[in-house]
């Protein structure tokens, strides 16, 4: 093994192909679990705002479980535990279709939904009740007050934590290596085993993760700026 040499990896077509595939799978896991989390979070939120007391307890229990159990343990429970309890037909179908990736998406998505729904809830709750009354006094109905007055402010308030948690979700996608999903960290480990250039490949992996995390943070900052009419007018 010789000195520091990035080109040994970057000029090797097999390693580059592995890295690209890793990045692609990380994005599949990130995008898939993000969408799942958002859909679930909105569902949880509407259950929580519905008048049924029981639904509220269910959502609170869901959120509490997914926040207080480590994400890694949740993934293990899904892949090593629940996977084996599923009926045979489903198990073999999943095994033929990248079960690791599917369970990574399910596990991370369900976990993140708890965080997203709380972010949205606290964002909406931070809009004072006076806003709704004022909107109604101005002749808005409930739905149109929600659409034009409450939701724009609530979502804007929820943006910063939503962005932070999106970055965490992106970083947590690396946990999928535990259940063997072929994502970026997995590719990094594999190339390390093949080339023994630990320092170089870790550096490449770290820079890739950092780049995409900063990209998400930057996109989030831009979105927050766009969503804020006062700052947008000033900019």
């Amino acid at each position: 093994m010789s000195g520091f040499d990035l080109s040994a990896i970057l000029k090797d077509p097999a390693s580059v192909a592995m890295l690209l595939h890793g990045v692609e799978m990380t994005f599949v896991i990130f995008a898939g679990s993000w969408l799942l989390a958002m859909v679930l979070a909105l569902t949880l939120l509407s259950i929580r705002f519905s008048p049924f007391r029981f639904g509220e307890y269910v959502v609170a229990a869901y959120v509490s479980y997914h926040r207080n159990v480590p994400t890694l343990v949740q993934l293990m429970l899904w892949y090593f535990g629940i996977f084996t309890l599923m009926p045979n037909g489903l198990t073999s179908w999943l095994s033929a279709h990248n079960a690791e990736t599917i369970f990574a998406i399910i596990g991370l998505g369900l976990c993140q939904a708890a965080y997203f729904s709380e972010d949205l809830r606290s964002g909406l709750r931070s809009v004072s009740p006076g806003q709704m009354e004022a909107a109604k006094a101005l002749g808005h109905g409930y739905l149109s007050a929600m659409r034009f007055v409450i939701l724009p402010q609530g979502v804007r308030n929820a943006l910063p934590p939503l962005i932070n948690h999106s970055v965490s979700l992106f970083k947590n996608s690396s946990l999928a290596i535990i259940i063997g999903a072929p994502e970026l960290t997995h590719a990094v480990k594999e190339i390390e085993n093949l080339s023994f250039r630990t320092f170089e490949i870790y550096l490449i992996g770290t820079v890739l993760y950092l780049f995409f995390s900063l990209l998400i943070m930057g996109a989030g900052a831009y979105l927050s700026l766009r969503a804020d009419p006062v700052r947008r007018a000033r900019a």
Partner: protein, 251 residues
């Protein structure tokens, strides 16, 4: 199902609690708690230094630490664990146990995260405190030591507890480098039983849930007390606290 779980707990509770202790390294739940407590204890002073460096007027101090904090926030903990697993033995030249590797990573990682909390706490106090302290003849360091930090850190107690909770959750990542913690013990149990993975990992989840849930409750109770105390006896002025991190810590 429930009888299975009870049988597993009856047979393996000692392994889950302390690992293979008298015959091997300490492990299990005890090790998880020791590892998280140690990392918080060591990360705390580091986080104060980081926060002071980030608030410093010297760029040479501010920029590198800011870069460090951003890098730590942008890279998965798993990647940092792999880095220390590779670098710590290389730099120390010794065969370091995985416990120490994980401890180093967690101290660094949580130090960076806590430094943001400390910085927020100091900024939330406002300029007036520092100016008043200087007017009374304190130097910068004296004012920090006797006026600013005691107030900021007191307000931060709930955030520190919630960081402790997330550290407990983060120790599970030590699984990739075989740190003998609770997750490791559970997977050992699973390897011995082979037939009941769901039950074993359910027990694991329940144990983590019990610990983290109760600690979060404690943090919330303390936070309410601090809010009340800061509001004062008249309860007319409710001072805004540094934004609570309890509900948003990851993972």
């Amino acid at each position: 199902m429930i009888t299975d779980i009870i049988t597993i707990i009856k047979d393996y509770w000692l392994l889950l609690l302390i690992g293979q202790y008298p015959n091997g390294p300490l492990g299990g739940l005890a090790n998880t708690l020791i590892l998280s407590a140690l990392s918080i204890a060591l990360a705390f002073p580091i986080s104060i230094l980081f926060a002071l460096a980030r608030l410093s007027k010297w760029r040479a101090l501010r920029w590198p630490v800011t870069a460090l904090v951003y890098i730590t926030r942008g890279v998965p903990l798993l990647m940092l664990v792999l880095w220390s697993y590779f670098l710590v033995p290389l730099l120390t030249g010794a065969d370091v146990p995985s416990f120490v590797t994980m401890l180093t990573t967690l101290v660094f990682y949580q130090g960076a995260f806590l430094s943001e909390v400390v910085r927020g706490g100091i900024v939330a106090l406002g300029h007036g405190q520092m100016e008043a302290a200087k007017a009374l003849g304190h130097s910068y360091l004296g004012a920090m030591r006797f006026i600013i930090l005691p107030q900021a850190l007191y307000n931060m107690i709930p955030s520190i507890i919630s960081t402790f909770v997330s550290t407990i959750k983060d120790t599970t990542i030590g699984y990739v480098i075989n740190v003998p913690d609770l997750t490791f013990a559970a997977s050992q149990v699973n390897n011995q039983l082979l037939t009941q993975p769901f039950q074993v990992f359910l027990i694991l989840a329940i144990v983590y849930y019990a610990i983290c849930w109760s600690l979060t409750k404690v943090a919330n109770a303390i936070e309410q007390r601090i809010t009340r105390r800061r509001a004062g006896p008249s309860r007319t002025v409710v001072a805004p606290l540094a934004p609570s991190k309890i509900l948003s810590e990851q993972p």
